[in-house]
Symmetry: C2
Subunit: 208 residues, 2 copies
DNA sequence: CGAGCTTATGGACACCGTCCATTTCAGAGG
DNA sequence: CCTCTGAAATGGACGGTGTCCATAAGCTCG
């Protein structure tokens, strides 16, 4: 019966893989994406510089594994936030957007990592699964309590996600906005964006 | 009178600085942002690995100079595209958005570089000036032919830019969209986005 | 107990950005 | 004309990185 048993955790170090991931998240938060390095996480974990190679075949694989954790966290938050609003579509959309805002502004480095195709493998099964959970949550919110005269749900999802992600990116990267603006006007901007999303949700079908 | 004269161009190499920038743009297009390296541009230009140090104090300075060129190109395109529509606000907004789409999908690496705060110095005078030109073009478009019952122009600008930049980022990074979708549906998505922008432009004032 | 596999180690290599001393050379001033 | 100066280019060095390699250590199971 132990034939298919999971590998025993207690090798030399015990649980180095997760230890490396934890240190990677710490470095990500404190020193940015550029601060996450194979030798760095090894150093923080107190092992040789080449030890991580046994758990991650490349730096890309390490960052991908970290991104999967971050994605799962985001998906969890979105799920629980929208679940409370399951029967109120408009509130659920707001909850979805607000969860994204909160997450991105609380941990900008984590949010950034998720979309860096150059650095992570978005086709990785774990990453793709968690990304699908986020997308599925948005679709699920849009699916319920739906007016009959709308365009298809995917189109609404693309539009809403464009606005949410675009505003977050603009704020995190400082695009086209004065620096003074970025701190003081966050609540106002959030309200505007949410009203915009309302507009998307209740607009007519565009002429094709 | 020659005391304040500009430095003669014909030093040893003649025009190494611009040569390095040209090679940098080539590497950016062909090998992505990660492919642009000080030693790389020096190699392509046929000079010593430390020669660029005389013209760019750091890699950040090199990438910033490249970004300034790219920004200027984008601003030029936007200016000429919107100038033709100077008396038709709705068409001008579409022209602005379409120019951004075209630019980003034609040269994704260049577009990406513009917003990488980690890599370039957005407070650099040249970069900031060109970024302001883009923002000014959007504001100028919104300023003319304006209905009286709107929110302030900056708010509209933020909303419109969020959608344009968000949609581009989503497409370039493959966010939440199936790969098959990304190629086939571009014209459709563009139409949808433009109709969304119309919605922003003609919406009512949100409750503050 | 010993075989075998996984894991950890330390060294090596090729890059990279940056700093440094040195050399080269165009142009200014005597 | 000739020297002098200072910017530009060179080559070497250092520390850091990702990746590969041979080796050693430790656990599991036959």
């Amino acid at each position: 019966m132990k034939a298919k048993r999971k590998r025993t955790v207690g090798q030399k170090h015990g649980d180095l893989r997760n230890e490396l991931l934890r240190e990677g998240l710490k470095l990500l938060d404190t020193h940015g994406i550029e601060g996450v390095t194979i030798r760095g996480v090894a150093r923080e974990a107190g092992v040789a510089h080449s030890a991580p190679a046994n758990h991650f075949r490349s730096k890309r694989a390490l960052l991908t594994a970290i991104a999967a954790i971050v994605f799962a966290d985001l998906a969890d938050r979105i799920d629980s936030a929208t679940a409370e609003m399951a029967h109120h579509t408009e509130q659920a959309i707001k909850a979805f957007a607000d969860t994204c805002f909160q997450f991105a502004f609380d941990a900008p480095n984590r949010y950034h990592l998720l979309w860096q195709r150059q650095l992570i493998d978005q086709d990785d099964p774990a990453v793709a699964a968690e990304m699908d959970r986020v997308y599925a949550a948005l679709l699920s919110v849009l699916r319920q309590d739906r007016a009959p005269h709308r365009v298809d749900i995917e189109t609404d999802a693309i539009a809403i996600w464009s606005m949410i992600h675009g505003y977050i990116s603009m704020r995190l990267d400082g695009n086209l906005v004065e620096a003074a603006d970025t701190v003081t006007n966050l609540p106002r901007h959030k309200a505007i964006l949410l009203s915009l999303i309302d507009g998307v949700y209740s607009r007519e079908v565009p002429t094709p």
